[in-house]
């Protein structure tokens, strides 16, 4: 009964923590609509129908970390591309927040 009102976006592949993703977001500026890409690492994945969300972390200029949370069922998400999978041993990668430089990189895991 609670599964009412849930429509998955077909342009979102299966995601897992540690994935490097490019999130294409629709942004409305006044009357104009454009698409912005947010590129980073999935550090948190939350399931749950309409409430499903991911938190993506990227390191912007000067080593400043930027995190953005996206609602996966939102019509504002155009599509998500996965560019890389990484070897991770936990579901929430909050430990990346305390790290900078090379320490904040994750080892790639190839899927065959």
């Amino acid at each position: 009964m609670k599964l009412f009102e849930a429509e998955a976006n077909p342009d979102i592949p299966e995601l897992s923590p540690g994935d490097s993703v490019r999130v294409h977001v629709r942004i409305v500026e006044g009357s104009r609509e454009r698409i912005q890409v947010f590129h980073g690492t999935v550090i948190r994945l939350r399931k749950g129908g309409n409430d499903a969300s991911i938190t993506v972390r990227r390191t912007a200029s000067h080593g400043i970390g930027v995190e953005r949370t996206f609602l996966l069922r939102s019509p504002r998400i155009e599509k998500i591309e996965v560019t890389r999978h990484a070897k991770v041993r936990r579901a929430q990668l909050y430990y990346l927040r305390g790290r900078t430089g090379k320490a904040a990189t994750l080892k790639e895991r190839r899927r065959n």
Binding site: E5, D51, S74
Partner: protein, 240 residues
Amino acid sequence: MIKGIIGKKVGMTQVFEADGRVVPVTVIQAGPCWVTQVKTPELDGYVAVQLGFEEVAGEIADERARQRKVERRLSKPERGHLGLLDGDQRKSLEQSVPALRHLREFRFESETAIDGIQEGQQITVDVFDTGDRVDVVGVSKGKGFQGGIKRHNFRRQPKTHGQSDRERAPGGISAGSTPGRVKKGTRMSGRMGNDRVTIQNLEVVVVDADRNLLAVKGSIPGAKGGLVIIQPSKKQRQRV
């Protein structure tokens, strides 16, 4: 067509508007309801429509088992009222109305409002449209015996400055020798919750006629599975 329906709270979720805005909603299993009685000034002294909700033992296929369940769930006067007793003058209702668990009345100002409403008629969620403003009546969750802070939004006393064990005490409840008593109705600790509560002016966000579901913006009183009454917003009605 009258507007008003009985339902059950399913739970809360959030839905997306076309532009991507997120709206918090409460999902209600609303209806189908049946008109079980029409009250008129001549007979009853006031105008109202009585609706019934939720079929008793509708899922039981076996006729005799269903019969037994209905007899256990509904008293004899209730069964008579729904036309389930042989030889009763309301017997004809049985054709159009199943055995119903809940009955609630909706009052109207004048008879013109209930023109054309007949006993046995079915009322479904599609009496509401998205964008309608509704009032939702339910019974709030029982909180048990609560102190003044939770129950009446009293303020807490200081935690420091020599204070000990009076942080959540109510403080003074009256003046002294004059009047020499505590006024009736003074707010104190006691049983909280389990009250009839109306939330006014909620927006209808989704109407799903196929599944008899309704989603209203915001929260409504009561636990999941609690009975709620949905009717057009009183304040909107006055404005029209």
